[in-house]
Amino acid sequence: MTNPLPASVDETLELLQRGDYIAERSLATALYLALKLNRPLFLEGEAGTGKTEIAKVLSATLGRRLVRLQCYEGLDVASAVYEWNYARQMIEIRLAEATGEKSRENLGGDIFSPEFLIKRPLLQALESDAAGPPVLLIDELDRTDEPFEAYLLEVLSDFQITIPEIGTIKAEQPPTVIITSNRTREIHDALKRRCFYHWVDYPDAAREQDILRVKAPNVPEHLSRQVVGFVQRLRGMDLFKLPGVAETLDWAQALTQLDRLELDPETINDTLGTLLKYQDDIAKIQGSEANRILTQVKAELSAAHSA
């Protein structure tokens, strides 16, 4: 099943909503433009704000294939684009010898034919199928090094890859490209220039509430309100690593598993490890600070309730 591309920002919002993704309008706009004008979408933001999720939702709702390239330091052409199947090639050479095939030109043409080619994500992304061009997710680009980034620049500008032994392979329809980065290093301007850029920020309270409702429907309303209030307050504090949406979901699920209907200081202290991932931060919040925040959150909620 394949769906047409959205024709407006509102339709893009709806499309994401169908995939249980509650997006800001600004993000939907950037995504709509990227789809419409066929440019990569460059998403930068803190960990756990739902960058990778967008690509997954997009491929699911559009009914397109998702090709994922997970980046790491030292990623090279052999693991990102293509690799020859050396073992089969060796066997082929030996077979050619055994059958008395001695012509070098023929042999070269034979063992460098597409059947010996192992396709890696970037090459796969150039191949359309019946459902249309795939969604290419280049995840955590900041983990690669500059040489790979420079190579990618070439691929993203004209969606073609040259394999010396075969020739140039060009995409009939360019894939939809989503690039994510956690900003552990600044990506070069040249690459950013070719993309639409969007900084994915932490959601506000209302949107986080909606996300909880959609993604964790089993969490009681009352608890989820308190959870969101608490996390929102934490994000206003001076912590080394602020909790993302993923952490909020984890925490709400954990509390539900523990059969809690309401937050209390003791529970918070016991489960703080699902929210904060640095010992310094936990030490800062644990105990009296958590108590203080909780009291504030409860007071706010009851004030809003009575109003």
């Binding site: 330091e73 010898e97 900003r183």
Partner: protein, 419 residues
């Protein structure tokens, strides 16, 4: 690229030969200001002017521009030089007459926007540092070339704080040519190499095809090596002001020498000046830096600045095992409040933390101030940084990989405690 064409230059008789002499002097003037112009370029310029003619000033400007300027950052200098030099047809005489007051006035009119280097280059009559009076015949010799060895050695060990303006100029020119060898670390990429220990099957197969598959000769590969990134945190507070300007020259040289150098300046707040230091021309670069920084020579809040670095920048620039150089005298306005934790965090998130402290030049230095005491336990290495020799020393420290943590500091602290 001098083309030795059969008809020789002197037959250019525009302006009765005066123009060609002027162009030559103009070229010398540019060379003195630091543009790479050799005699070949001068000949080219004469040819070019002959080809274009000197119908109007604009054409003349762009003709010389085409010959003398080959990098974007040289344009500004050329522009200023051209307007100063060619505005006054008698300027040649003046230059020969060793800086008459009129020329001084000319230079003055240009005012503050005139490049200092150009002003110095135009004032060729003024004896240069380290040069005896009456050096008229070697006017075209650059300032740097006139450094004699003894001068250089003297400058090497002289404290930045005690230098005169002329000596500082010399030091700057030495720094300009300094590079910073830094150890290399293996990356995860490979390159073809006979010394490698891994089979490179792709290369192997290609070689095999050459012999038609008769011989399979195993090709090997090994890991590529490259420098880790360098992150510099430099203190520009009042107590460091004499050093920080020299250090900026040094940092500019280092930044333009390699990739992946990030520079931050801090006094009471933190400023990232990496992009400004990337301008090739030192004057332009420093102008941009001083425009960006708002707390020159004020107080120091090391703890707060490091906190900001840790929160906002550390994950963005320390991602690939960077070497961090912290340049500060450790004198802190906030009495080292929160400094210990921040320096510990910094230390734990980088490959090596090297502390450069100008106060270490005093033999009797003891870590008495609370700021210094807070920093001490968390650095892998520390060095004085108060003259050129110590900057050169720094290169030696960076050059050996060394263990990530070595007990040098702890030992030193123990010695100090027992003394």
């Amino acid at each position: 690229m001098v083309q030795d064409t059969p008809h020789s230059r002197p037959d250019i008789q525009i302006d009765g030969g005066r123009l060609s002499a002027n162009i030559m002097h103009f070229a010398r003037c540019l060379r003195a200001a630091g543009l790479p112009i050799g005699p070949g370029k001068v000949l080219q310029a004469l040819e070019a002017v002959e080809a274009v003619g000197i119908g109007n000033r604009r054409d003349f400007y762009w003709t010389l521009h085409a010959v003398f300027v080959n990098r974007r950052d040289q344009r500004e200098l050329f522009d200023q030089a051209f307007h100063v030099f060619w505005r006054n047809p008698d300027i040649l005489k003046r230059m020969m007459a060793l800086l008459l007051p009129a020329l001084k006035a000319d230079l003055k009119q240009e005012g503050p926007e005139m490049s200092r280097r150009l002003a110095e280059a135009l004032q060729t009559g003024k004896p240069k540092p380290g040069e005896s009076q009456g050096g008229e015949e070697d006017q075209e010799i650059e300032i740097d070339a006139s450094l004699t060895w003894s001068d250089r050695e003297l400058i090497q060990t002289m404290d930045f704080e005690k230098m005169s303006a002329a000596e500082i100029a010399m030091a700057k020119s030495v720094i300009k040519r300094m590079s910073l060898p830094i150890m290399t670390v293996p990356t995860r990429r490979f390159q073809l190499s006979h010394l490698g220990h891994r089979a490179d099957l792709r290369a192997t197969l290609r070689q095999t095809l050459r012999s038609g598959g008769d011989v399979i000769d195993l090709a090997t590969k090994r890991r590529r090596e490259r420098h880790p990134p360098l992150v510099v945190l430099c203190d520009i507070s009042g107590s460091m002001s004499r050093y920080s300007r020299m250090l900026l020259h040094f940092l500019h040289a280092v930044t333009n020498d390699r990739d992946r150098v990030h520079t931050f300046l801090f006094g009471t707040r933190l400023t990232n000046v990496t992009r400004y230091l990337r301008y090739k021309d030192i004057d332009v670069s420093l102008e941009k830096v001083s425009g960006a920084v708002q707390d020159w020579s004020g107080g120091t809040r090391i703890g707060r600045s490091l906190h900001e670095f840790n929160r906002v920048w550390s994950r963005r620039v320390l991602g690939q095992g960077a070497v961090v150089i912290l340049i500060t005298d450790g004198l802190d306005r906030d009495a080292a409040e929160g400094l210990g934790e921040e320096i510990e965090r910094l230390h734990k998130s980088c490959r090596r933390l090297i502390w450069l402290n100008p106060l270490l030049r005093y033999d009797g230095f003891e870590p008495k101030s609370s700021g210094i005491r807070a920093i001490m336990p968390h650095v892998d290495d520390f060095r004085p940084v108060h003259n050129l020799a110590s900057l050169a020393d720094l290169a030696k420290v960076l050059d050996h990989v060394g263990p990530r943590r070595h007990g040098g500091m702890a030992r030193w602290l123990a010695e100090v405690a027992s003394a």
